[in-house]
């Protein structure tokens, strides 16, 4: 039997994906379209009440409402109607900016430190207890401490991103550096390369795939954490947008934001995957 070609498999997979989506949307539509029974209300009174109470409409929006809301946001993603009401595009840009800043700071710290730990068994043992204790701390637990010491909510959010993206990169870098093949290091020694040159031209390329795996994990975590951090400190960002719409019990907007968060997270992950691919090598 002939193996199905890659392209025909792709087509089949796409069809199945679309079917799953369609079934989900249909079930969602059915689930939310139902109208509960309501008793007759005085029209004066009904005017003061919301649709849930008067028409027995489900509090959960259906896919059509969400679709309309998404279209509304897509039409005008960059509006600015004051400090507390900005478009979805602007909010996402704020969040991405914070993640980028915190993440880059973490890269700047984690990779050199990871090299140090990976190359020096002494430092590796000395720093190990600290890393083991700090690693499992939920990044949001740092928030009150950060707010209190940094005294700036924007910087605190960035600090939280920094601290949560630090550990996967640090550990992966250390591991990647420590597990560079002995033969390659010996070759470097035979060629009388200095430690700096060994690090840059032998260890770095050899450990790069592991380092990038750490970086890919980190960006994913950073994007998860930013939403929660912004819900806490407020002001701007997609997390604030979710909080603000929750405040208004607008589930439609919350779902829209959830979709946007998912799409941006996927884009960031794909970006890191590309970078990872570009540095990987076959033995």
């Amino acid at each position: 039997m002939a193996q199905p070609s890659a392209s025909s498999l792709n087509i089949k997979a796409t069809i199945v994906s679309v079917l799953i989506l369609a079934t989900f949307l249909f079930a969602w539509h059915l689930g939310t379209a139902g109208v509960a029974t309501t008793q007759k209300l005085d029209p004066e009174y009904a005017k003061l009440m919301g649709a849930t109470a008067t028409q027995g409409k489900s509090a959960m929006p259906g896919p059509i409402e969400v679709g309309a809301k998404i279209w509304e946001h897509l039409k005008d993603p960059f509006y600015d109607r004051g400090t507390n009401d900005k478009g979805l595009g602007i909010q996402l840009a704020y969040s991405i900016g914070r993640v980028a800043l915190g993440y880059l700071l973490a890269v700047a710290v984690a990779i050199p430190l990871g090299f140090l730990i990976g190359m020096s068994p002494l430092m590796s043992r000395a720093l190990d207890p600290f890393i083991q204790v700090m690693k499992p701390i939920s990044p949001l637990a740092w928030m009150p401490l950060a707010l209190y010491t940094i005294k700036d909510s924007g910087m605190s959010a960035i600090f939280v991103i920094f601290i949560c993206s630090l550990w996967p990169m640090l550990i992966n870098t250390a591991f990647g550096v420590a597990s560079v093949r002995k033969e390659w290091l010996n070759v470097a020694k035979t060629l009388e390369l200095g430690p700096a040159r060994t690090a840059l031209s032998v260890i770095l390329p050899a450990a790069a795939p592991t380092i990038f795996t750490g970086m890919r994990i980190s960006i994913g975590i950073a994007w998860l954490v930013i939403v929660a951090a912004e819900m806490l400190v407020g002001g701007t960002g997609i997390g604030y947008f979710v909080w603000n719409e929750w405040n208004n019990l607008s589930i439609t907007n919350v779902i829209t934001a959830i979709l946007a968060i998912g799409l941006v997270g996927m884009a960031l992950d794909q970006l890191m995957a590309r970078l990872q691919k570009s540095v990987s090598y076959a033995d």
């Binding site: 209300l41 005085d42 004066e44 009174y45 005017k47 003061l48 009440m49 919301g50 849930t52 109470a53 509090a59 109607r81 004051g82 400090t83 507390n84 009401d85 009150p144 707010l147 209190y148 005294k151 700036d152 909510s153 819900m231 806490l232 400190v233 407020g234 002001g235 604030y240 909080w243 603000n244 719409e245 929750w246 405040n247 208004n248 019990l249």
Partner: protein, 459 residues
Amino acid sequence: MSFDNPFDAKTKLGHGGCSCGHHASDAEHQKAIEADNRAVARDEDLRLSRIVESAVVRALFPEDATRRAFLRAVGTGTAAAAIAQFLPLGAITDAFAQGATPEKKDLKVGFIPITCATPIIMAHPMGFYSKQGLNVEVVKTAGWAVIRDKTLNKEYDAAHMLSPMPLAITLGVGSNPIPYTMPAVENINGQAITLSIKHKDKRNPKDWKGFKFAVPFDYSMHNYLLRYYLAEAGLDPDKDVQIRSVPPPEMVANLRADNIDGFLAPDPVNQRAVFDGAGFIHILSKEIWDGHPCCAFAASKEFVTQMPNTYSALLKAIIEATAFASKQENRKQIAEAIAPANYLNQPPTVVEQVLTGTYADGLGNIVKASNRIDFDPFPWESFAIWIMTQMKRWGQLKGDVDYKAIAKQVFLATDATKLMKEAGLTPPDSTTKKFKVMGKEFDPEKPEEYIASFAIKRV
């Protein structure tokens, strides 16, 4: 009246009835003066120069009769010119106005999206801040702890707080002690106890044993009022029920999800629970204590002392907004201004029901309670003392408390008195008063006796 024209022989700078004779009737005379006063009130500069002129002329002629005789004899124009020769009124007015130039124009003020913040919020879209020459950014904030931290961090110059918070911060309860001030109350009343719709037959608080309640914050009037109400019904708020601190936006969702049985919360949360069919309004907070303070406008002592002009311009804007909001006829217009996503982010009808006091109670009735929420900026020191008695009653505050000194230090009643006069309001003569909470009188002179008089307490 400082707004009356002192160069008008007909006006009296002192007190007393009208005696002019230049008008056909007394009413007509009054009307002419009122029209003149309105023009003064409209024009900020004119008002300022009137205040200065009045002060100077009053100083020259302490006796009202002498001043009037002098003006009648030489004529108003001559009198003004004569006085201006010796005393440069224009220059004095300028100096006075210049002294009022804010040290810092771009300010950030934090708020929580609830109707208690009405004066702080509406002052932005309705131009009360810009009228004082300030460029204020009002920033929506996620919760009370965050608003406290951001104000302590100086990210905000001033903020909307619950009225017990400046006391708690100053006393170092729940944070490091930092001298804080509360120069104005924002709203009085305006809260309610909302219960889940499934409890619509349990209207007697004695049946509430085992209920889970939510309040916005530990240091809030909501917490103290709910505890007071429960304790009066014989329930121990620490043993017979659970009271948790839940941010207002999460309350309706929790009520619907059956995580809580009810809450004592700020509006629009109560009305929103009704609007969404999740709960009904059991009682309004004014039925516990009519005229209780709730939220406040607060600033650090440092801001008050280092930027006195900015502070007084900001406070003036808030007090004028509060004066505007206290009038029933303006409420609908305010509801429209503060309902959009940039401010409260609520359906306009919900905000309107809260502010106008004509609302659906969730049980099928339309209730009319025009003072459901009211606005009165005066920070009574006795309010602060009552709050501290409750902090002590429920064990938040331990040891001896110098009630009066702290009340005076935090609730800046004298500043409010001055600015309320300038805004054309009548501040009270005293800074303390007695009031009743659920029929029981509170005497600010005897706080310890008051605490001792309760059966249920943690002292």
